[in-house]
């Protein structure tokens, strides 16, 4: 363990919701009341053993936690270095880490006496998780989803609808995750008195980044317990993909005060380095405000949010949770990016070697995990947060691979 408690990297956010200089609340006055109400409700829930017990019980009985920490022997052999372990969030009910946060926030919704939930979604995993929580708790649910993502994630749209959720197509702007967040925030402003907005990543105004991180932190806590049991110590490195940054925040947070553990966040490098061709916010962005928080943002010289691209809908976001900005600037976490093509190759590599289809988001982290493992000694241990399963991406991967093959044939002929 490091330093004194007050100086610890984990001692954030402060009362204003700041992670160092990042975070805060940059929202219309209309929402301030709801954010204060949410902060109070969360603070009391956090210290209420009955709430925490209920949360743990649902996670165990319904979600299937703890998720396994699995030694990936064949990936390890392929990388030829450190031992690779997978933290199997893909084994959770609904197939990704997103369910942890959705259940937590649905419980908070009930605690605040609100009657309805809304959510945004990119890949559809958070939409599915929210729809699931809506069904479980009998809360009517509407999910905002960009038209482009509705096309890319047909299966998840079907799942949400089957559970009784209304999927609301977003046609403004780039028709992806960022526009879905805009619409959900707007909707929340006019319905805030009876509706809770279950934000799907560690983004947005305070207290959302803190709440989402905390509701995902069992990932890192379980890794600590399980690695102590299985290898008798902490891992040497931990890798997670970063879209808005919720699976990474939940994975890293319990480790940030353990200075010896290397933490690596993987962003979507898309297909090039120019603005509009990737979604690697921490690699190429600058501080600014998006969706109510001060954080790294991909923007043009005039301050307009840039378009982003990633083969993975869940990483296709032009900002990042403020705690990651803090970890980047304090150098506690190293951030890097992985391209569309590398992620697609890893999708197949992991499927063939381990019999586990990763979500395309997760596939980005697989690439970096292989790199890190290959550079480390055989005695080292690298843990990968395996954020979700790839079923939702099969149709899209098939489509993209056909295009890639065609392009490849044209080049060689």
């Amino acid at each position: 363990m490091s330093s004194t408690l007050a100086n610890a990297v984990s001692a954030v956010p402060d009362a204003r919701g700041r992670f160092g200089e990042f975070g805060g609340r940059f929202v219309p006055e209309t929402l301030m009341f709801a954010l204060e109400q949410l902060t109070d409700a969360y603070e009391s829930a956090k210290h209420d053993p009955a709430f925490q017990d209920e949360f743990r019980r649902i996670l165990a009985d319904y979600v299937g936690r703890p998720s396994r920490l699995y030694f990936a022997e064949r990936l390890t052999r392929e990388a030829g270095g450190a031992r690779i372990y997978l933290k199997r969030e893909d084994m959770n009910h609904t197939g990704a880490h997103k369910i942890n946060n959705a259940i937590g926030q649905a419980l908070l919704t009930q605690r605040m006496g609100k009657k309805r939930i809304i959510a945004e979604t990119g890949a559809g995993q958070h939409g599915v998780a929210s729809a699931t929580a809506g069904a479980l708790f009998g809360l009517p649910c509407r999910v905002y989803m960009g038209e482009e993502d509705i096309r890319r994630q047909e299966l998840n749209v079907f799942r949400m609808k089957a559970m009784g959720t209304e999927v609301f197509p977003v046609t403004s702007g780039s028709r992806t995750l960022r526009d879905a967040v805009n619409e959900a925030m707007r909707e929340w402003m006019s319905t805030v008195e009876d509706t809770h907005y279950i934000i799907g990543s560690a983004i947005g105004p305070h207290p959302f980044p803190m709440i989402v991180r905390d509701f995902q932190s069992m990932i890192g806590q379980e890794i600590i317990e399980q690695s102590n049991e299985q290898i008798g110590r902490l891992p040497d490195a931990v890798v997670a993909c970063v879209g808005g940054g919720s699976n990474a925040a939940g994975t890293f947070y319990p480790f940030v005060d353990h200075e010896a553990v290397e933490l690596i966040g993987v962003e979507a490098g898309g297909h090039a380095k120019g603005l509009g061709t990737h979604a690697a916010t921490l690699m190429h962005g600058q501080p600014g405000v998006l969706h109510g928080t001060f954080t790294y943002v991909l923007q043009d010289d005039d301050g307009q949010t840039a378009d982003v691209h990633s083969v993975s809908a869940g990483l296709d976001y032009p900002a990042v949770g403020p705690e990651h900005s803090y970890w980047k600037d304090s150098r506690r976490v190293r951030y890097c990016s992985v391209t569309d093509n590398e992620a697609l190759d890893a999708f197949y590599l992991c499927s063939r070697l381990e019999g586990i289809l990763p979500a395309l988001e997760t596939a980005h982290a697989v690439v970096e995990t292989m790199r890190v493992a290959s550079k480390r000694s055989k005695d080292d241990v690298v843990v990968l947060c395996f954020s979700g399963r790839g079923d939702k991406d099969c149709a899209e991967v098939a489509r993209v691979m056909t295009e890639r093959d065609k392009a490849g044939r044209q080049k060689t002929s």
């Binding site: 204003r16 805060g24 609340r25 940059f26 929202v27 219309p28 006055e29 209309t30 301030m32 009341f33 709801a34 403004s172 702007g173 960022r178 805009n182 925030m185 707007r186 402003m189 006019s190 805030v192 008195e193 501080p287 600014g288 405000v289 998006l290 969706h291 109510g292 001060f294 943002v297 923007q299 005039d302 301050g303 307009q304 949010t305």
Partner: protein, 272 residues
Amino acid sequence: MNPIDALFRDLRAAGRKAFMPFLTGGDPDLAFTKDALTAVAAAGAHLVEVGLPFSDPIADGPVIQASYTRALNAKLKLGDLFATLKQTAAQPGWKTPMVAMGSYTLIYKRGAAAFIQQAKAAGLSGAVLPDLPVEEAEEFAKVAADHDFKPILLVTPTTSPARAEKIVKACGGFVYVVSIVGITGERDRMPVAITDMIARLRNLTDLPLCVGFGVSKPEHVTELRTLVDGVIVGTAMVRKLEQAGQPGQREKALTELKASVQALVVALNPTP
């Protein structure tokens, strides 16, 4: 004296109320922005709010967002908008104060001091930053005070009395009273609670109180006239900008914009 203070001093002395249209800068293009500002000023608008287009405006409804998108699709740059405002305000006899309405990230990008200097040089006397709540507004308000630039803050139906007190203290020029829970856009009737809200605010501040969000019709204005110091109309104006972007509709849109400003000015001040 800041032009906004002078405006409300004169209006109050004459027992009149301010009519304040909102226009997006650069929709459909900057030439139209200059014509539209000139037209609404000639039609009797007392102050104009100029929207600075932003790609992700969370406080605005679909009509204003679409307007911002059109301006940005036409490659609008803030520097060019400022240049147009400067030309507009440089016209002989121009005396209508202008304020900016924009998302905070656009200000942060330039730095508060640089933004305020550029805005003032463009003829703007203050700014409404709907996503900069009072807790985060301290630095902006301080730099603004150094430059006699007005930080105009918002009070909404969900604002607690304690917050309202903090907000009016940090606020300058006028208080922007949001009439409804929600985003900008048109409503059929004004909500009843506004009367109480205004009464409570009067006890807290002498600043002019101006109501916006959801005001669109002369009937709304008539309802509000006795209560407030001014009325802001946005979405209904922006619809005319949308029309101006259609082929052959510019002159018609301009004429209608003028007529609608005249009607609202009269509804607000029935006795000349």
